[in-house]
Symmetry: C2
Subunit: 288 residues, 2 copies
Amino acid sequence: MEQKTSAIVMKGKPVAEKLTERLRSEIEGLAAKTGRPPGLAVVLVGEDPASQVYVRIKERTAKKLGILTFDHRIPENLDQGDLLDLISRLNSDPAVDGILIQLPLPGHLNEQEALRAVALDKDVDVFHPENFGRMALKQGILRPCTPAGVIEMLKHYEIEIEGKSVALIGRSKIVGLPLSLLLLHENATITVCHSRTSDIGAVTREADIVVAALGRPKFLTADMVKEGAVVVDIGINRVDEKLVGDCDYDALVGKVSAITPVPGGVGPMTVAMLMANTVRAFRDHASG
Amino acid sequence: MEQKTSAIVMKGKPVAEKLTERLRSEIEGLAAKTGRPPGLAVVLVGEDPASQVYVRIKERTAKKLGILTFDHRIPENLDQGDLLDLISRLNSDPAVDGILIQLPLPGHLNEQEALRAVALDKDVDVFHPENFGRMALKQGILRPCTPAGVIEMLKHYEIEIEGKSVALIGRSKIVGLPLSLLLLHENATITVCHSRTSDIGAVTREADIVVAALGRPKFLTADMVKEGAVVVDIGINRVDEKLVGDCDYDALVGKVSAITPVPGGVGPMTVAMLMANTVRAFRDHASG
């Protein structure tokens, strides 16, 4: 019997650090040439504690890289017109390269309308439907953050995607759906599973790579993957004050060839890709 | 042994006729209310014989339904600026509800730029990336013609889609890719196969529904589907002056539970859905 080699634990931090290191030097070069740093406007409406944490991490990372942040913390009771006015001002502000509207917005605001108001060339979250369409049709230059982060992680850990069968569980507009398209662009044979799939295990057991992005703690169990599969866990679930992924990590790690931990897996990549998009927008603004 | 019941041959014509009948009466009602018929502008650049045939079929169908067509047949040597000017005039013409730019455009023209110049609310082919994105994100009202035609056909023949496994071969921007998204919206478990898929047969043999949209004559053979599968053939290949689909119809028809013929299958649905989009745009323009 072949000796079982231990699984590669695909941590996000070293990948994110390598990427941000590259971005830092790119920013230095571009800032020297253009005489200004890249700018990221961050809009946070209300007091949602999780959103506050996310925004803080994003702003801190941006500052470390030499990206100027414009902080817009706005009371919960802001109305739609004022939000659209703010977005319009940020759209025309030449110091702002990227606009980040932290979701979810309070229920009385029209999220879809707000996201569509963001200028296409500053839409660093890639939430505007035109940018989504351009991405789907391979015409875009900005890639959705978490999905692009997954691709970068797999490449960093030298996991081949082309020609591989990928089972993706989940089809959210922010993660599952755009990731299915990016994986297709990487020439994977992609199957999208979801709540209406009759037998998810039957699909995942055949797959070379399984991606869990459905938001259910420990949904993917060891009996649902084949020996030596690669598992990517995009879930972040809070269970008894602890963060738990969509995968049963402890059981899977003995069976798979590579797996992302939660926390410490895909998470850091989302922020890094947001920075990459901001720098990409900066570069385009600088050259145009 | 159970007696083999014969396969349902899913012809497009009766489905298209039922749909156009519904559209005809809808147009009558709306035209009476608004005092004008719906208008479809058809732009054909150059003399491509296949394009001329397609345009003729579309215009004839439109006229039969009471849709006014604005015919723009333009010499091959038109330049990009003139094309954009024409699109801009059609965009602002209140008698025009839909704009159809017959593809392919001659090689010296920038197709992508031209399609993006079409007003979103007149983009009845759903080729603008923003409309593609809206469709993908379920925010759109217009659906790409051939993909939507396939969905309507399956519904007409009472083929259940929800929860079924669908193997789709092909990922073109006009057919395969948007169809994969519409099938996902219908709650199918969708696998997209393509030229880099290592074993297409292994995927299709597991599928409840197999859709061939790759453009290779008789690619899908009987050994590639399971007994009782549903097969949709979107291929139109010209072989020895005859039209041949992507499926080996004669061999498949004895094994499957339902199959579309070529010609006479999905083909008529594309034109019918174009009319449906034109009427949908007309209704939206009429309502303000």
